[in-house]
Symmetry: C2
Subunit: 413 residues, 2 copies
Amino acid sequence: MPDPSSAPALASTDPAHLDAADPLASYRDRFVIPDPDLIYLDGNSLGRPPLAALERLARVAAEEWAGELIRGWDHWLDAPLRIGNLLGTQLLGANPDEVALCDSTTIDFYRLASAALDARPGRRIIVTDRANFPTDRYVLEGLARDRDREIAWLDPDAVEGPSTEDVAAVLAAHPDDVALVTVSHVNYRSAAIADMPAITSLAHDAGALVLWDLSHSAGAIRVELAAAGVDLAVGCTYKYLNGGPGAPAWLFIRSDLQAELRNPIQGWFGQADQFEMGQGFRPRPGIAGWLTGTPGILGLAAAEEGIRLSAEAGIDRIRAKGIALTEYAIALHDVRLAPLGFELGSPREAARRGAHVSIRRSDARELTRRMIATGVIPDFRAPDSIRLGLSPLTTSFTDVHRAVDVIAELAAG
Amino acid sequence: MPDPSSAPALASTDPAHLDAADPLASYRDRFVIPDPDLIYLDGNSLGRPPLAALERLARVAAEEWAGELIRGWDHWLDAPLRIGNLLGTQLLGANPDEVALCDSTTIDFYRLASAALDARPGRRIIVTDRANFPTDRYVLEGLARDRDREIAWLDPDAVEGPSTEDVAAVLAAHPDDVALVTVSHVNYRSAAIADMPAITSLAHDAGALVLWDLSHSAGAIRVELAAAGVDLAVGCTYKYLNGGPGAPAWLFIRSDLQAELRNPIQGWFGQADQFEMGQGFRPRPGIAGWLTGTPGILGLAAAEEGIRLSAEAGIDRIRAKGIALTEYAIALHDVRLAPLGFELGSPREAARRGAHVSIRRSDARELTRRMIATGVIPDFRAPDSIRLGLSPLTTSFTDVHRAVDVIAELAAG
């Protein structure tokens, strides 16, 4: 990999050389790519389908659903916990039996935030940030209203994301009154990485619980939930984990909190002796007590293949390529786009940045539309950001180079 | 169809004649049936896959997910409401824009029950019955605990289900104090049909809201949500609607209540101007405000095909065949199984019975196991019921006859 400190040198590197040296380059062949000329830079919003996911879906439908019929539940019942363990232990730094795949990120976030508030009944404050992902903010607003709590909003730097110092200041302003601190690990717009160990530790020192949204981290950067002492986390599987459109989300609860916290939505999949169908809810022990209704098996099956592929590639290699791709994109931005009035909307320090790069210009919305018409697909994030998602398993350095060519041409014209 | 009043005559009818006269017989060919010798009487738990669902899944994966990538959301966004309208207007007697397909039955039941309690803040009582489906009871227990409410339990006749008189008596015992009445329309064990118009009207007279669980009705019997004045309803799509294992559930909210009730889980799919990602939750108007997180597109696509097939067959023909199949099963039970110590666990009156038949004997659990080993799949419901699910689009009269042969042989042996 080239020296990332030298933007002009890196920007002038032939992307074919970078692709030739990429140890993950062959993973692209493990995905279904019907139009190889299309440059897809939105795998951070919806990842491409693994070949194995299509094969698995066909098998689940024809052999399991049609052939096993109701008997499929003999093994489907385990799927949320089996896949949760694969994801948790291979890609999230969790211990076994701390992760379950179920429901949507919104539902899981609601349940964990709700349980956290219940576990801190005397405390009125929820800390989060204005730049957090919308669904998290909306859920918290509803909970604050319904539970008579108040949100203390961080107002982070748009590029650098919520700083540990800002969190510390808000905690100090509300002594013994913060129930929950919740931020995204990688910001959806800027890709800024929040300091998970430091913020977790600050929250704990203040007596609060902490809930991380890892939707833009899982499968893109190394996450160490257990080592950081994290209480609670959620995330999706349809971005870097290539699980499919609307694939099931996951939740993480640290082992020693699983019995202490109470699932506000008590469903039959979380019930001990589920099929006795008896009177009175008695939760299954551990993370299983956090399952709710009947899980969607088609979605789980596809997600398992995506997660398996990332686990096979290995998070360290994925992270290294994510850094290399984003460094390359930033170098090209600096040399070719900055002169056209673009500003970088992501941190320059690789260790502080996830696997996408935001570039900002006031006409970003219209430029995105024109890029898509040209066969380069990024996404737009209001008000002025073009997000270039550089999903490490499916994006080549040539993709990045060609995308910048197109942006430069459109932006100059 | 033969005269159902004469059990011996009906029981001695050749099932091949009944199949030959069945106007829906050809629908069986619209499903994937890899083992035609297997007798599947559990379509009331997991319906068989429509051929169209397998084709659709392959297309969604290869063409939409792989080919359209993120652009698929241009039409996926509408799916929960589009399919909700198909289901609601064709099969549930709802008006347009009153039904959405989303999340699981448990999650939807929680959200609607929670909203109903919020809408009746001065009232402490929730009315439901001990024989209601477990997940509904468990959710209500959690809500009662968290919201300081109390459940007034009906204790219905095990076969006939909750009677209108019992509901009236409980309402009278708690004047001006019942917030919510919620029962299943068709009981999961006995198939007893509760009187939807009468119970709805009683609840309204008492100032309560009513929430129906239609998991065992939808796609099996005629439902008239609008005509009955129902406030709220939920149901699944993986039973008679053949939507696939863990297919998305649906919720119904009467139009004039949609603005009055508040979704407790405020997610980004329920937000006006979702992709502006702005500050402050402002719900989309109407049923769209009840969407939460990112919907699972694979599950929705398969479910749409199942729903479409039921709508094409027509609920009146489906209901007529459901009655004919259950009448035939009961006649065979009376003549051949009652002498072996079985008791009928379902109402004898066709108008009071859904599309399955329960037969009871103390060794039902063991008998079910032996039936499955023989290639006849019913399911067991504790403590003593064998459920024979006679899903009208995929079950033949010959299936019923052969299943009773097997039961009689095993039970006598």
